[in-house]
Amino acid sequence: MLSLSFLSVLMVSSLSVLLGLVALLNNPTRLTNRIFALLCVLSSAYGITNYLADHDQSRGLFWARMTFLAAALVLLFMLLFINNFPRKLFNKKWETWAYVLSSIISVVVFLPDFIPQVDLKPDRTDVITGGLYPVFLVYVVIFLVSSYRLGALSLQHGEGIEREKSKYVIMGFFIAALLIAVTNLILPLLLGNNDLSALGSYFTLVFIGFSTFAIIKRRLFNVRMVVARSAGYLLVVVALASMYGVAIFGVSQLFIGKDTNPLFQDGIYTLLSVVLAFTFQPLLRVFQRGTNDIFYHEHYDSQVVLSNFSKILVSERDLDHILKRTITELCESLHIGFGQLVIFNNERVYRVEHFGQLPKRLMVAPELATLNSSMIVADELTGGARKQLMENHGIRVSLTLKTREEFVGYLLLGDKLSGDIYSSQDIELLQIISKQLAVAILNAKAYAQIEEFNLTLQARVDHATNRLRAANHHLKELDKAKDEFISMASHQLRTPLTTIKGYLSMMLEGDSGQLTPAQKEFAGFAYGSSERMVNLISDLLNVSRLSAGRFLIQTKPTDMVAMIADEVRQLATHASAKNIGLIFEPPKEILPPAEIDDNKTRQVVMNFIDNAIYYTQKGEVRVVLEQSGDKVRLEVRDSGIGVPEKAKKKLFTKFFRADNAQIVRPDGTGLGLYLAKRVVEDQGGTIIFNSVEGKGSTFGFELPFTPATPIREVAHAKSHK
């Protein structure tokens, strides 16, 4: 009984079952895993029934029929597997037809007309084919062709790793199926004997081999996990069996004698089984943790890693922090030696972050561009430029980070510290993480760019401010040069003016002999003009002093009545020449000398009177000086052209001249009133101004009046002339 052939068939069948177990344990809830498990069990069943048909000759006919049944079902599940792996290709309706056909053939194989009888030979059982036998052949052809067509479609649509996986499984199946079809279906038909049919059992090895290759090399299923789980189950079963055994032995020794009540015995055993049922799960967990530690020293919980990841992405907004923390978390959790994040912006490398030992060479942008597909695992590439590139740079996995709209960058991972290949758990986790990371990086990038923009903006504002500052400085220099020029020119003008004015005054005083009335009149006009020019130059000098900050009020006791009388006397010639009355009304009481800036105030008074005469065509100019309490008030009232309403606001600003004033006096500087305001206000006073255009104006000031005690000689001297 225990022949070599039996042992080998048993081994092949066990391998097949084991393969199914691996698939099932890997993910018991996934449909493809279940289908694959069933497929394995059925191939094993086929191997066994095929053997038994030859060797259990007393039931030869039954085993032969069972062999055909198993083969039919193997074909069915292969078809289902291809249709569902990696994802569903066709709908349920299509599958239903497959089920219907299989059900029919399952019945057909047991009908007497299919295999009426078997021909028992010493070493084998030959099948005598009946009338229905060709139906089975048709069935095989339909399923093989369909499977082939589906497989081709699956390979065509499949991508990367999934395609590799199905490729090996389908290839294994077809080779096995063809070999079996040749030995067990076609050759018997052609040669009329079943000499080679026993080989059919062994041909399932081809399928097993290819599938195993796909599992190990292409990660079809996670073998390590399956082994760990199997070991866990095995241990728990052994442990429980031992415990149970010991318990039963102990109980029977202690409580159960020969005359024990059978009801009591049953109760004890029932109790034990209840205890067993409740201890199973906790024990299983304990053992699984143990086996996980043994088989998975790199074990991690995907959920924990994902939750840590989410925490980082939620808590961080800074791009550099996100990159640093995520690559660190990822590499540490998955026990990866080297990790790199390369983030792009406008097709250029924007940020790079590393973890761990840097490889000898880092990839440059054009190299990275060749990796532009969602995920590349170097171990799954059979060759080519990409594989070469990744190998050269020590990269095992490359993920392209992108959102639906935008390309973000690359996540490159090196070897695992253990040297193992990346497990399917790793791959799944990486795929989830890469999507989250892409979104988070894109947001952080936008945020960082806003920050950068703010910085640039600040820099630009600073730059512009500096330029303005420099321009301002330059303008100040220019202004200073202008003031210096005015000052210099004015001083130079004063020298010839001194002689003109001086000699004219001497002529008028009779120093050159008696003048005719006409000569006196003309010389008087010339003198008056020279006087005005002197004042004009003083104005210019004062303005340039004002801008240069060298305009200072220097007070001294001044007899204001004498000062104003003096100015009125000097301008009387001008007034009478225009046939305008010029009247000075001094205060009724005696005005003590006031502490004011004599020169500057004198110029203000002169300016007011001179203007009044100039802008009045007929009538009079009245100069009124009054003192009331601690104020002294001067008003110069004229009946002249007046100030237009719109000019009033700007009248006291530098170089401003009202339109009507420009017509009357084109050579005015627009400085007189500007200076007057400064002189008055710098002495703590206020300007008096009101005017009606066409009727006349009143200009004047109100100064604080402080009687001065000691009178200096010069002021005194002036009051005497």
Binding site: T498, T499, G502, G510, D511, S512, H716, A717, K721
Partner: protein
């Protein structure tokens, strides 16, 4: 300083004949006051000379600061009128040199008569006890009046 040219309406002034209109100084000469004028513009100095001499003053004209300094020390004028912008020494430098020389300013009033109206110059002049006046703002008569005041004489 502009120098006189042939085109000038007034011929180059000379120190020579005093115009006829001006009355000669009083005969008893001990009371005649001497005024030193330091001024590099001949038109201006001539103008003051005429006015002062007509009022009976003796006038010494100097055209630069160095001569003015020497003149004051040698001839002991009763009053000095100094321009600021002059060759050799400015009027203010003359004052400084005199002070360094131990000159007693209380014996001789000084008038700084200039066309510069810089505040600093004004303050410097005041620090020597000198009067500070702007030429263009005054007529020769007004200058004469101020000089008379300084010398304690009645205004002319």
């Amino acid at each position: 300083m502009p120098s006189p040219t042939n085109n000038a309406p007034v011929s180059t002034p000379t120190a020579a004949p005093v115009p006829a209109a001006v009355a000669p100084a009083a005969a008893a000469d001990t009371d005649i006051k001497t005024i030193l004028i330091a001024e590099d513009d001949p038109f201006i100095s001539r103008m003051y000379q005429i006015k002062l001499e007509s009022a009976g003053f003796r006038v010494i004209l100097k055209t630069n600061g160095r001569d003015a300094f020497e003149g004051i020390k040698a001839e002991h004028p009763n009053l000095a009128v100094l321009d600021i912008n002059m060759p050799e020494l400015t009027g203010l430098e003359v004052l400084s040199a005199l002070q360094n020389d131990g000159f007693d300013f209380s014996q001789m009033p000084v008038i700084v008569l200039t066309n510069s109206s810089e505040l600093a110059d004004r303050n410097t002049a005041h620090s020597y006890g000198a009067e500070y006046l702007v030429k263009a703002e005054l007529t020769p008569r007004e200058v004469l009046n101020i000089i008379s005041e300084k010398l304690g004489l009645a205004a002319a």
